[in-house]
């Protein structure tokens, strides 16, 4: 038996013994995600136990080093773990911006003390993080951000406003881009700092979206005191970290769309919504659009596999994350459009149990933001044109 087979065997036994039965049931969506954090209220004992056991094994962040709460797995081992979890339908024990974004950034740019302080808490789901990037006047042109951090000797004082901060109202800490040198060219005066959302002067206000939901907030900083040691990486070089994280985020948003799309064939979903009782899709235009979406979805899922395989061989994804972000989010918009079309007037019900609280309509509206958040489709195309195709600047 190869080492990987032995690992698979071990993981299979462990998962079988430790994954509680309710955690093997299909997730319904957003409402079954465990985000963790100081204020997290577990919805069941199974949820709590599952997180605790997985965190103990380092399996909430399997590729992070053991010293920081991970399991130190190789990419191949991580794939095995994912496959074995999928085999029994095990839910993810924990999702968070700490796992997806801050963790990788700290592993690359953080100092030893920062890694030891923050990473294990992320791994155990004890601290929930949010991301302070966009501002009212810094959207696509993120580097023009104005939130100021002034040097007061042993600490910084932060003033300004962020917007589109995901779940800021429920987060414990924030990783935040701030301007530390207003005189420098815009990319050169930005730093990356961490602070507790409970610090005096921090306030949040949820933003109501067209979907009726509020996954984002406005976040205000009014003379917020931030200790000097909370600076990550070099002073005024925060843009390097920001870029690294954005690449990561794009891969994740695009990939997330791909994963979601891969779960059930769009044709099957649409046929069911159209109530066609196994007769296929009778509307010819809808059927044709579904066929196209199905082909693009399948080929896109293969593309994510291919890029992952190439990355494992040492050729990083790099600027191609912009492609994943662009293609994946545009596909997700198409998918929700098709689902709503198939459902007809049923899909337009906004409230009530029959429509799952207007799930189809709300998902359709929410998806419109996919091609805006984390860099618009147009920004992605611009990145591809310049960084990959090397077309000349204006």
């Amino acid at each position: 038996m190869s080492e990987l087979d032995a690992f698979r065997h071990e993981v299979r036994l462990w998962l079988d013994a430790h994954c509680p039965a309710p955690m093997r049931e299909l997730t319904r969506g957003e409402e079954d995600i465990v985000w963790g954090g100081r204020r997290w209220a577990f919805r069941s004992e199974a949820e709590r136990v599952w997180l605790e056991r997985m965190a103990e094994r380092g399996f909430t962040v399997p590729t992070w080093p053991k010293a920081y709460g991970g399991a130190g797995l190789s990419r191949d081992e991580e794939r095995v773990l994912r496959e074995e979890m999928a085999r029994i339908g095990a839910r993810s024990p924990l999702e968070s911006f700490g796992i997806w974004m801050l963790g990788p950034a700290l592993l690359k740019f953080g100092n030893e003390a920062q890694k030891r302080e923050h990473l294990p808490r992320i791994a155990r789901g004890e601290i929930r993080w949010c991301q302070g990037y966009s501002e009212p006047n810094a959207g696509s042109d993120l580097a023009s951000l104005q939130t100021r951090a002034e040097d007061r000797g042993d600490h910084w004082v932060v003033n300004g406003q962020k917007v589109w901060t995901s779940y800021a109202d429920q987060a414990d800490w924030i990783f935040c881009l701030v301007r530390t040198d207003p005189a420098a060219p815009k990319h050169r005066g930005i730093s990356f700092v961490l602070f507790d959302m409970a610090t005096p002067g921090v306030s949040t206000r949820p933003i109501r979206l067209i979907s009726g939901k509020s996954p984002f907030c406005e976040t205000f900083f009014d003379d917020v005191r931030v200790p000097k040691e909370n600076l990550v990486g070099e002073l005024n070089r925060g843009w390097d970290i920001a870029k690294y994280l954005l690449t990561h985020e794009r891969e994740m948003i695009g990939g997330g769309a791909g994963g979601l799309l891969g779960t059930r064939p769009i044709g099957e979903v649409v046929a069911e919504l159209a109530g066609s009782d196994g007769e296929g899709i009778s509307d010819p235009l809808l059927r044709a659009d579904v066929m196209r979406a199905e082909i693009d979805t399948l080929a896109f899922a293969l593309t994510m596999d291919r890029l992952r395989d190439e990355a494992a061989g040492g050729q990083g994804i790099g600027a191609r994350s912009a492609m994943l972000k662009y293609y994946g989010t545009e596909l997700n918009k198409r998918r929700t459009e098709l689902m709503l079309r198939a459902a007809g007037s049923d899909g337009l019900e906004w409230e009530g149990e029959r429509s799952g609280g207007g799930r189809l309509a709300r998902d359709w509206l929410r998806a419109k933001g996919n091609s805006i958040e984390g860099g618009t489709s147009e920004v992605m195309l611009g990145i591809i044109a310049k960084a990959i195709l090397e077309l000349p600047g204006a």
Binding site: P265, G267, E268, V270, A271, G278, G280, I281, R287, A288, V290, M291, R292, E294, I295, D296, L298, A299, F300, L302, T303, D305, R306, D309, E310, G313, R320, M323, Y326, Y327, E378, M380, L381, G382, I384, A385, K386, I388, L389, E390, L391, P392, G393, A394
Partner: protein
């Protein structure tokens, strides 16, 4: 792993080097301008045989390399880049697959070494109407003497002109539209009653309409079970479709590369036109589509190597996606080249023409999307 093996990577490099040297686009142009009878160069075909490419799907005991469909696809992709004309897909891919998988020992011994050596060209005749429809085969094969008598016609038969033999799909039973009752026969190209009329196509390559009027074949000329050859035919078509998908991927990549070159070079309003956002975004979108098509083509080729008879779904995905993307790539290429893209002097139009034929051959995107939908039950 959706990546090439080291050997596959080396083959791709070698094919790119050889074809850009020995079969550049100017060769196709010269054949077209000379109204060449075959539409391809016999010297090129011989050279491809010397490199072993004609035997890429043929077992070693019959003189082949047995390198697999992925490898065959890489050769096709590189042929797409230079628009190299040859009977590669019909003979080295489809006929070789048909005889390897459906031929008896005698047929294999007779044909496979000859294909590998570049000495035999064999076309595959399936379509009878303007759209691809293998189950719709109506050409009759009636029992007569020690074999069958073939009557009917075929259209869009690539590489039939100058071929040594033609593999003909015929109906020994059942009705057009049914999979049941289909048979495949190897017909000598000089057989009495067989008329081959060259049809000059938009891509300037070798294609023909066939009329079979009482063509006599032996029972021993059948490939696969008489009356039950549909599965074999599907395997043969699958191999050809994967090759065409790879060729179209190559066409898309090359016409895109040429378009990018033009966007950097061409100056209007005092700046390179590639600096205009309207064109940058279209180019970037096309880049994404080409990357996505490449993945589908790779997965289709790998699926055939895993299971030549069970790869229909992924091969259809590859053919449908590569077909749509090649169509987009050549259309964008002509548009972004502007007026010069409309001239015969520039090669871009030749890519557009070949992409169209490769897209139609063995099923267009609609055909393959329909198959995917049926397999996905909607």
């Amino acid at each position: 792993m959706l990546t090439l093996t080291e050997e596959q990577g080396m083959l791709q490099e070698a094919a790119r080097g050889f074809l850009s040297e020995s079969a550049p686009v100017s060769q196709l142009r010269a054949l077209r301008d000379a109204r060449d009878e075959l539409g391809y160069s016999r010297d090129l075909w011989r050279a491809m045989a010397e490199l072993g490419w004609t035997g890429i799907l043929i077992p070693e005991e019959h003189g082949g390399l047995d390198f697999g469909h992925m490898g065959a696809g890489l050769v096709c992709q590189e042929m797409g880049r230079t628009l190299a004309a040859s009977p590669y897909i019909s003979t080295a891919i489809m006929a070789a697959t048909a005889i390897r998988r459906g031929g008896g020992p005698g047929q294999q011994a007779r044909w496979l070494p000859a294909i590998a050596a570049g000495e035999a060209v064999i076309a595959v005749a399936v379509d009878e109407a303007r759209k691809h429809d293998p189950a719709g085969t109506a050409l009759r094969a009636q029992a007569s003497c020690n074999g069958f008598r073939l009557d009917g016609h075929k259209t869009f038969v690539a590489d039939a002109v100058g071929a040594d033999a033609i593999i003909v799909a015929a109906r020994t039973g059942g009705e057009p539209g049914e999979a049941e009752g289909l048979s495949l026969f190897v017909v000598d190209a000089r057989a009495q009653g067989l008329d081959i009329e060259r049809t000059l196509m938009v891509d300037s390559r070798n294609a023909a309409r066939l009329t079979l009027d009482g063509v006599q074949v032996d029972e021993a000329d059948a490939l696969g079970p008489v009356g039950g050859a549909f599965e074999l035919l599907e395997t043969v078509l699958g191999a050809g479709r994967a090759g065409l998908a790879a060729e179209m991927s190559g066409i898309a990549q090359e016409s895109f590369a040429r378009t990018l070159g033009y966007l950097r070079e061409r100056t209007q309003f005092g700046r390179p036109i590639g600096s205009f956002q309207a064109l940058q975004h279209r180019a970037a979108h096309l880049y994404c589509e080409i990357e996505v098509a490449k993945s589908a083509v790779l997965a289709g080729g790998q699926a055939l190597d895993r299971d030549p008879t069970g790869a229909g779904f992924l091969v259809s995905l590859a053919k449908a996606k590569a077909g749509e993307v090649a169509r987009l790539a050549v259309a964008e290429a002509v548009q972004m080249h502007g007026g010069i893209g409309m001239t015969d002097a520039v090669d871009i139009g030749l890519f557009m023409k070949r992409a169209r034929v490769a897209g139609e051959w063995l099923g267009d995107a609609s055909f393959h999307a329909g198959r995917i939908a049926r397999l996905r039950c909607f």
